[in-house]
């Protein structure tokens, strides 16, 4: 009986256990398989079987699979924040992980925050051994290289940009939607167990193109992305393994990927130099992972470690070197900065199109007397730029100072607060904002610079503006053109006359801009003036510029154009007006023009240097400029075109001499005199100046710098009379040589005369000059020079 009861109890117990086991198994099977359920056993397996390897450890430590200090934070944060946390964890290393708690603690906290289905612990003890306790992991940590090593070999600084690097949405870790939390939790859960674990082995049997979340089925190796060791290695420097997984999987097509060149900090130079290694080029030629994931961290790796970064030169500078055949390359290689691809140059964006310079003066500029001695030349043209803001209902006016040939790059405009205006280009200066007062457009507008340059805009009854394809907003025009919309500025009292004139040319009704800010009292802006044809009746004289005429066009042919509408003196253009203007009058520079037999229009002085304006009334206007011959306007600059030709020995006369074309001058405009080396070479002036020629050590030539051109050269190879001679150079100016008493000159001439050295290459003036020189030296031989 007792045995039966005992048997029943045992059976019941077994049955209960069986039921419990069945329930457990049912419950286990009923759970959806996922990344988290499979990664734990895999991670545990890896812990048990993984060999030691520093690189794998670092991959684990720095990879984004390691959530580090706070998995909860990673779960609660969006992907980008999670990436940043991971990067910080990678920088902090295992120590940071330990500070925040053991992996088990992280796991516990993670589980506490996970949904119930995710926080089930049972699989830990089912088919695989349970994970090592924290103490065991800490024991294995000495085998894990600390991240300080990474910093030492230069990888740590490279990780910094990874924090800044925005996450790439297409990557694996970003595919884990933080909204539902589960994928990120799974990933975090997985990596939490790998924190501080022993190194992971390389498992490269992941399917091609496998997406880790999808590939992590119950039967799949869950660490396919991690198994791509080279990619993890590559990404470890950027601290974004998760972002690299997708790209790494796509590259894993069975061909072992080189890891050494990708991680130059780990690269053994000997290995890198071995021919078996893939060359740097082959790495650079693989654009997939680099370009598809577009990780800025990886770019930093290249910058920091690839030798080409410091070797590469500025392309623009080297192009100049190539093109210029300049003996002095402008390129200065930057050997100190290893992370800069090119020498840094301050990026200066000077698009000053329409840049305005506000003049604070309340009154319009008054004509100012040019500075004394300033250039006497006709004033340049001053245009106006009209800006109309339809929303703000604001009008603004600025002055465009034209820049004819010879005008400086910077001018200081007087009467406008001494405003310095810089050249915008070769045609004009920057805008100059003027306060639009009632008096501004009353008469002519004349501006003068401190150095005497002038700009003039003549007075007119109506100011016409139109679009210029090269300028923003509206630019003043000399006359209206048919078929083009114009905007007019006129006095309020002239508005009706202008409306009538507009109607005469077939223009639609003008639109009045009233009460706009910026328009002074008594003035009005009219827009929409689009003349269709010539005025039916002759317009009033002040409004004839509104008449487009019969569609006349002014053009220029031939000449020697120095730049746009600027022609060289002696080569003026042919002025052509098509069709023939008929009854319209043609003026050039205010002088009535005539049609020559060649079909070009000319007038008195039309080809003289200066600016000229062609006025066809009614009809268009155009301007051109005849550039004066530079020979008559100060000549050309003399500069040292080869200043750095002697890197050393800058104090030598041949190094200080300036070369420009075929002219060689001293630094203070001295005469440079050279001669083939002789034991004695003295250059003598006609009345003063004796300079010993200095011999170049590397060439058989001697030279000197003299304030005055020499007249004689004393050349001697020995002390005998036959070993010396005086060469007549004849370079001294006929008038104006120095009369200063030069004892050295006296002594030299006396010595040559005493030795009766022959005078060679001398004509009659030369013989006379040498005779006078000897007489002067004899006269001055006992006289001491004045101090």
């Amino acid at each position: 009986m007792v045995g039966g009861i005992g048997f029943l109890a045992i059976v019941g117990l077994i049955a209960a256990l069986a039921i419990m086991a069945g329930l457990w198994e049912w419950r286990r099977r009923s759970r959806p398989s996922g990344f988290g359920t499979a990664s734990r056993p895999a991670a545990a397996t890896l812990r048990v079987s993984a060999p030691e390897g520093t690189r794998s450890d670092r991959d684990v430590d720095s990879g984004s699979f390691c959530p580090g200090t706070s998995v909860k934070a990673a779960l609660d944060s969006p992907a980008g924040v999670s990436t940043a946390i991971l990067a910080r964890s990678a920088l902090a290393g295992p120590a940071a992980t330990r500070q925040s708690g053991a992996p088990g603690e992280d796991e516990a906290s993670t589980q506490g925050d996970l949904p119930e289905a995710e926080s089930q612990p049972p699989e830990r003890g089912l088919s695989i051994p349970p994970p090592s306790p924290p103490s065991a992991e800490e024991e294995s940590e000495p085998e894990v290289p600390p991240l300080d090593n990474d910093e030492a070999d230069g990888s740590a600084p490279i990780q910094l940009p990874a924090e800044k690097c925005p996450p790439v949405p297409e990557t694996t870790s970003q595919a884990a939607e933080p909204a539902d939390g589960s994928p990120v939790a799974q990933e975090s859960d997985t990596t939490a167990q790998r924190d501080g674990a022993v190194p992971l082995p390389i498992i490269s049997d992941a399917p091609d193109g496998a997406d880790p979340p999808k590939a992590n089925g119950p039967d799949d190796p869950p660490q396919a992305g991690i198994g791509d060791q080279p990619h993890a290695e590559r990404a470890s420097t950027g601290g974004a393994v998760a972002q690299k997984v997708g790209a790494a999987a796509s590259r894993d097509d069975g061909v072992p990927l080189p890891s050494t060149p990708d991680a130059p900090d780990d690269a053994d130079p000997a290995e890198a130099d071995s021919p078996e290694d893939l060359s740097q080029d082959s790495i650079e030629d693989q654009p997939d992972a680099n370009q598809q994931t577009a990780l800025c961290a990886e770019a930093d790796v290249d910058k920091a470690n690839l030798p080409s970064s410091s070797d590469e030169a500025d392309p623009e500078d080297l192009v100049e070197l190539e093109d210029a055949s300049d003996p002095v390359p402008l390129f200065q290689p930057d050997t100190s900065a290893g992370t800069t691809l090119r020498p840094k140059q301050p990026a200066v964006h000077r698009d000053r199109r329409g840049k305005r310079r506000t003049i604070t003066a309340a009154a319009p500029p008054q004509p100012v007397t040019p500075a004394q001695g300033g250039p006497a030349r006709p004033p340049a043209e001053a245009k106006l730029r009209l800006s109309l803001h339809p929303i703000r209902r604001k009008a603004r006016l600025s002055v465009l100072l034209m820049r004819p040939d010879g005008y400086p790059a910077r001018v200081s405009v007087l009467g406008a607060g001494a405003e310095v205006v810089e050249a915008y280009d070769e045609q004009r200066y920057d805008d100059l904002d003027l306060p639009w007062t009632s008096e501004l457009l009353e008469g002519e507008l004349r501006l003068t610079s401190a150095d005497g340059f002038q700009w003039l805009r003549s007075a007119r009854q109506v100011h016409i503006f139109a679009q210029d394809p090269n300028e923003p907003e509206l630019i003043s025009a000399s006359a209206a053109r048919a078929g083009i919309e114009h905007t007019l500025i006129c006095r309020l009292g002239d508005m009706e006359a202008i409306r009538l004139a507009a109607a005469e040319t077939g223009s639609p009704e003008l639109q009045t801009h009233e009460h706009w800010q910026g328009i002074p009292d008594g003035w009005v802006v009219l827009s929409g003036y689009t003349p269709v044809h010539a005025a039916a009746q002759l317009l009033p004289s002040g409004l004839r510029t509104m008449d487009p005429g019969e569609g006349l066009e002014i053009s220029f042919e031939g000449g020697l154009p120095v730049r746009g509408h600027v022609y060289a003196a002696g080569h003026p253009p042919r002025i052509i007006i098509t069709p023939p203007p008929g009854a319209a009058s043609v003026m050039i520079g205010g002088t009535p023009a005539e049609l020559s037999s060649s079909g070009a229009w000319t007038a008195a002085g039309w080809d003289a240097p200066g600016q000229h304006i062609i006025d066809v009334v009614p009809g268009p206007s155009a301007s051109y400029e005849i550039a004066a011959d530079p020979w008559l306007a100060g000549g050309w600059d003399f500069w040292d075109a080869h200043p750095e030709r002697f890197g050393t020995g800058a104090g030598e006369p041949w190094a200080r001499a300036k070369i420009c074309g075929a002219l060689i001058r001293g630094p203070a405009d001295e005469t440079v005199f050279a001669a083939e080396t002789q034991p004695t070479l003295v250059a003598l002036g006609p009345r003063a100046g004796a300079t010993l020629l200095r011999r170049r050590a590397d060439a058989g030539v001697s030279l000197c710098l003299m304030a005055e051109p020499p007249a004689f050269l004393l050349s001697a190879t020995g002390s005998r009379r036959s070993q010396g001679r005086v060469v007549w150079l004849g370079l001294a100016p006929a008038q104006g040589p120095s009369w200063q008493h030069d004892a050295e000159w006296v002594a030299t001439v006396r010595s040559a005369a005493a030795r009766r050295l022959p005078l060679v290459h001398a004509d009659a003036p030369g013989e006379d000059a040498w005779r006078k020189a000897k007489e002067r030296a004899r006269r001055l031989r006992k006289r001491r020079p004045r101090p």
Binding site: L321, P329, W636, R645, G647, A662, L729, A734, G766
Partner: protein, 290 residues
């Protein structure tokens, strides 16, 4: 046409190669013309494709055996300059001669019986006179051995082509970056993705950027590649050893003309080079007479 180009340059004063209109110089030949004008002393080439016209100067040629004193007009040339020079020559009694040159600016020569007459004409015209321009220019030019160069690291990374200047062949031969890196000396032209660089190696670890003409001469140092004919004063050089602009300018200022190029022998010939200029040229270029 190039007289007109020189006049345009004189009015323009400075500019870029791309500024030259097609009616002044063919686009394909503009670079060569500008380079020749720099050799003749009319302009100076600046960095990149920039140029700037030099002021006018009467460059005195080396004294001829017949004793004639001749100078050529170099630099900017406008109608006013020519008119001023013509007037001065007429007043000083010296001869002014213009010789047309095909596809290059005309050579304007001033010939006088003595230096005094030439100096008087130059002074009257207001044009500086450069005495013995060739010798003075060479005297102020560094030797190829000391030619300015910029030390630089060896080119690394991907390059498209590498050429080495062969001293024996006096020409370019194909090479590799590895060969260039390992070479102890030599002159290399390396084409990278975006540019060419001229690299002179003086040691395995020492290399420098150098102007390519100077680099070729540096590679050909002490090479017996020059030939000089005493009777005519013709100095022949291999075309590949065209000297840098200052040296070429000095040799051109022995006559006022560019060197002749013989396509068959691929050599250039500077005419009327006197012995003293020859010696100085050899000292600067490092070449030797064959």
């Amino acid at each position: 046409m190039t007289d007109r180009l020189l006049e345009w340059m004189s009015f323009r004063r400075s500019g870029r190669l791309g500024d030259i209109a097609s009616d002044l110089a063919d686009a394909g030949a503009a670079r060569r013309i500008v380079d020749d004008m720099a050799t003749l002393g009319h302009i100076e080439l600046l960095s990149g494709a920039d140029w700037k016209v030099a002021p006018p100067v009467l460059a005195m040629l080396p004294k001829r055996p017949d004793g004639a004193i001749t100078a050529v007009l170099c630099g900017a040339r406008t109608p006013s300059v020519l008119a001023s020079l013509a007037s001065a020559c007429a007043s000083a009694g010296v001869q002014l001669e213009t010789q047309l040159v095909v596809a290059r600016p005309s050579v304007i020569r001033v010939m006088a019986a003595s230096n005094s007459g030439l100096a008087a004409a130059a002074s009257a015209a207001g044009i500086p006179l450069q005495h013995d321009a060739a010798l003075t220019l060479l005297a102020c030019t560094p030797t190829i051995r000391n030619w300015p160069r910029t030390p630089c690291p060896m080119v690394a990374g991907r390059v498209e082509t590498v050429h080495r200047f062969s001293r024996s062949r006096i020409g370019w031969t194909a090479s590799t970056l590895a060969e260039a890196t390992a070479a102890r000396s030599g002159f290399f032209r390396i084409k990278r993705d975006w540019d060419w660089v001229s690299l002179l190696k003086t040691d395995v670890s020492e290399c420098a950027y150098i102007e390519h003409r100077a680099g070729r001469l540096a590679a050909a140092a002490k090479l017996k590649a020059a030939a000089w004919t005493a009777s005519s004063g013709a100095l022949d050089l291999p075309g590949q050893l065209y000297p840098p602009t200052p040296v070429a300018r000095a040799l051109a200022l022995c006559t006022g003309f560019l060197p002749q190029y013989d396509g068959a022998t691929r050599r250039i010939s500077f005419a009327d080079v006197p012995p003293e200029i020859l010696r100085l040229t050899l000292a600067i270029t490092g070449l030797r007479l064959a």
